[in-house]
Amino acid sequence: MNQQQQQLGDGRRHDDDAVLAEFLSSLMDYTPTIPDELVEHFLGKSGFHSPDVRLIRLVAVATQKFVADVASDALQHCKARSAAVVKDKKDKQAKDKRLVLTMEDLSRALREYGVNVKHQEYFADSPSTGMDPASREE
């Protein structure tokens, strides 16, 4: 029984190795959006050294997936915010136009990934900007 279990375990490990090797080889057939030159530039700056091009593609795909996940979360926030506002059918086109990546949606999406982004609402020219004229005179 032990030998059979060990053989089964070896077989599974071999399959897993084959799956990983197949995935790495499939990366060469896929062109990620982030170009290899850019990835190599950032990898070189960080001290990563590897002659295998598949690893560069793996890092590029992982980064693209991360950006896509953040963007899709921001899109969900944007749609949820605009769904409460839009009521008429005529405003459907306006709804499509409102699919804008804003800092508000992006900061909410990034918070789930542990990135805190705080964006200034506005910048004032002087301390009295926006105050009532009466209080400004005082």
């Binding site: 850019l38 990563f48 944007c78 990546l101």
Partner: protein, 256 residues
């Protein structure tokens, strides 16, 4: 005031698409990298479904993507360094991905026996991501830097060959003329290395000591055999002053 940057439609890249401007000597490499990263991030946002993006939001997401890349690379490099390796492999990258995904969590992260790298759920998610999305190549061709610009020199330049035991990422050896002068080939023979170096540092003209102690011009560290003899006389003080005066007179006549 909000400014919106329009995103290009990725499905129909026109043949007349303007290429990125070539890098100028004044341009910062990091600025070029940021520009390229911004375009790539904008393409990803458009593929997700956004029609446009605010400039600060796009800039922030680009910066976060760059930080993610650098953090991933640093983590992978540290994993390979902990294993006494200079070159990272796939398992280093997978471990780094686990480290970054631990904030959100992934399947198998709570396993007390440790995450199996071969059966990693993070890799499976990446595989699933590849199968679902369409291939979106980068919108613009990236210009290559000129040869005159700073680029890492090849590790083995010139005719000097290095052994395989020396990694490629180490700089090349200095030129021989910088640490070895001409005519000093025979000095090292029959001598320890330390002494040879000491002799070389003083001067290195002629044959030197290693050739049997022959007189050499400018051979440092060796006294010439033919030299003036210094005579010492033991005499009284008065006689010594008289002798000194005589010498001064003779030297003064000689000067005239």
């Amino acid at each position: 005031m909000r400014t919106r940057s329009s995103l290009r439609h990725p499905k129909t890249p026109s043949a007349a698409a303007a290429a990125l401007p070539p890098p100028t000597p004044e341009s910062n490499p990091s600025d070029c990298a940021n520009g390229i990263a911004r375009i790539a991030v904008a393409q990803v946002c458009q593929s997700v479904g956004f029609k446009s993006a605010e400039a600060p939001a796009l800039e922030t997401l680009t910066r976060v993507a760059g930080l993610y890349l650098k953090t991933l690379a640093k983590a992978a490099a540290s994993y390979s360094g902990d294993s006494n390796r200079t070159e990272s492999n796939a398992f280093d990258v997978v471990n780094a991905l686990h480290e970054l995904e631990s904030a959100q969590g992934f399947a198998g992260a709570s396993d007390p026996r440790g995450c199996c790298l071969v059966r990693s759920s993070v890799v499976k998610d990446a595989q699933r991501f590849l199968n679902t999305i369409d291939e979106i190549p980068f919108a613009k061709p990236i210009p290559r830097a000129d040869g005159s610009e700073s680029s890492p020199a090849p590790p083995c330049s010139g005719a000097r060959l290095r052994g395989k035991h020396i990694p490629d990422w180490l700089p090349d050896f200095p030129e021989e003329s910088r640490y070895r002068e001409e005519g000093c080939e025979g000095i090292v023979e029959g001598r320890d290395v330390e002494l040879a170096l000491w002799e070389r540092t003083i001067s290195c003209g002629g044959e030197g000591v290693g050739a049997g102690g022959k007189t050499g011009e400018g051979s440092g560290g060796e006294l010439r055999r033919e030299r003036e003899r210094v005579k010492f006389q033991i005499c009284k003080r008065e006689e010594a002053t008289l002798i000194a005066k005589k010498k001064r007179r003779t030297m003064g006549d000689g000067d005239d």
